[in-house]
């Protein structure tokens, strides 16, 4: 237990130190990421899902097949189907997701900027608008509006996506899924044909 604790401590300390080193070396790169919105997060997530996700699905299927000693290989087979579906979901979900998120963020930023122009309201407080907006502080005001627009718009997008998921995503993902399945089938038949020809 003790050894384990020490190891864990060291691991944490190592991560902490290397992050500190990285930030000290590349502060500009970190600062550039600061304003990232849910759009950036979605793109990063989907890219990982489209590349690592399918491999994970197949891997998990193989592990289950091995651990449970399954003879008919069914889990393995269905995990391949799931892998294609994961990729299709990542592609379709990103296209729809980025559009919906972008629209929600743009709309909320515009609405917040409008609502914040009247001094004394709650929105004006959020935008740090204490009095009149003059040419001097228009930067601070708009910057705050876009910051809040990103987070509030992101939250609204989640609500909107509950509906667009069933209306747009589901059929769209199905189409992509079928296309990928056909492409994968083509590749595997070509491979087996080659094997027959060679053999």
């Amino acid at each position: 237990m003790k050894i384990n604790n020490i190891k864990q401590q060291n691991f944490k300390g190592d991560v902490y130190n290397s992050v500190t080193k990285f930030v000290t070396k590349h502060p500009a790169a970190c600062a550039a990421l600061a304003g990232s919105s849910v759009i950036g997060q979605k793109v990063v997530m989907s890219a990982a899902e489209a590349t690592v996700g399918p491999a994970m699905d197949i891997g998990v299927g193989r592990v289950i097949t091995k651990v449970t000693n399954e003879k008919d290989n069914r889990t393995n087979q269905s995990s391949k189907t799931q892998a294609i579906r994961t990729a299709a979901q990542a592609i379709g979900g990103t296209i729809v997701g980025v559009i919906v998120r972008g629209a929600c963020i743009a709309a909320s930023t515009a609405l917040l900027a409008k609502a914040g122009q009247k001094a004394g309201t709650k929105f004006a407080d959020l935008m740090c608008n204490s009095g009149k907006i003059d040419p001097k502080n228009i930067y601070q005001f708009q910057e705050n509006a876009s910051k809040w627009g990103k987070s509030i718009g992101g939250a609204i997008a989640i609500g909107v996506m509950l509906f667009t998921n069933f209306i747009i995503d589901a059929p769209f993902i199905n189409v992509i899924n079928e296309k990928i399945t056909k492409a994968v089938d083509k590749i595997s038949t070509k491979k087996s044909e080659k094997a027959v020809n060679n053999g």
């Binding site: 902490y16 000290t24 990232s36 990063v44 997530m45 799931q82 199905n174």
Partner: protein, 244 residues
């Protein structure tokens, strides 16, 4: 409850930590997705009441485990990264900060002048650029506002990196493991109780993505494929279906 709502609203505040805002929004999306999938399972007519008794709690447990692991891990990481960044800023000398914040301010101004990726899209007005310049620069040197902005952004950017790593690990590693393993358990349980289902063609159970597809009616493409009963049939309630 009021405390939770307060915390939620506070975590949406972009001035506190943009990494945490991203984390909360992603976790909320995952929670809604898990709930709507479970709801779809509960409403599905093709599922017997007996199956629902097992499927609904299974769906909820899967969702809670998935979101819980993702949230706990990422929150810790964001805190750690932000602390590291604070330390790193302390390590930088005043000259360094002045130099870097000047570079940063100039880059930001150029970005706003040229618009999104230099395309002119979302370009800001000349008044805005002028106001930005007077706020951030004075006699070719960065103002205190610019220095503070740079420091805040470094800390917040480190949090964003942690949030991104958490999102990648969560969506590409944790979710598939929890989803596939739980789907396997559900599948085995149903097969045990209803062995005849194994010979049946693939039926969409409560899979909303299959409804309405195909030229001849609702389920024709699904039946036409004649897929065997598989993990996939029982995945609708886990986080595999609705993605937010």
């Amino acid at each position: 409850m009021a405390k939770v709502v307060d915390k939620l609203i506070n975590s949406l505040n972009p001035n506190v930590s943009s990494g945490k805002t991203l984390l909360v929004l992603n976790a909320l999306g995952m929670a809604f997705a898990a709930l709507s999938n479970t709801f779809a399972a509960a409403k599905d007519k093709n599922t017997s009441a007996e199956d629902k008794k097992f499927l609904i709690p299974a769906g909820l447990v899967t969702g809670v485990a998935n979101i819980g692991i993702y949230f706990g891990m990422t929150k810790k990481m964001i805190d750690g990264f932000e602390n590291s960044a604070k330390n790193a800023i302390k390590n930088l000398s005043d000259e360094d900060i002045a130099k870097k914040s000047l570079e940063f301010a100039n880059k930001q101004i150029l970005k706003k002048e040229k618009g999104f990726l230099g395309t002119g899209l979302f370009k800001k007005s000349p008044e805005y650029i002028q106001s930005m310049k007077t706020n951030l620069l004075k006699d070719g040197k960065p103002t205190e506002v610019a220095k503070q902005l740079f420091k805040d952004n470094v800390k917040s950017g480190a949090g964003v990196i942690a949030a991104f790593i958490g999102a990648i690990v969560g969506s590409a590693i944790i979710t598939p493991i929890i989803r596939d393993v739980s789907a396997y358990i559900v599948q085995k349980r149903i097969e045990k109780q209803k062995p005849h289902l194994q010979e049946q063609p693939y039926f969409p159970y409560f899979d909303p993505t299959h409804v309405g597809m195909g030229p001849h009616g609702k389920f024709d493409n699904v039946v036409a494929k004649k897929q065997p009963l598989s993990m996939k049939n029982y995945m609708a309630f886990t986080n595999g279906r609705t993605k937010i």
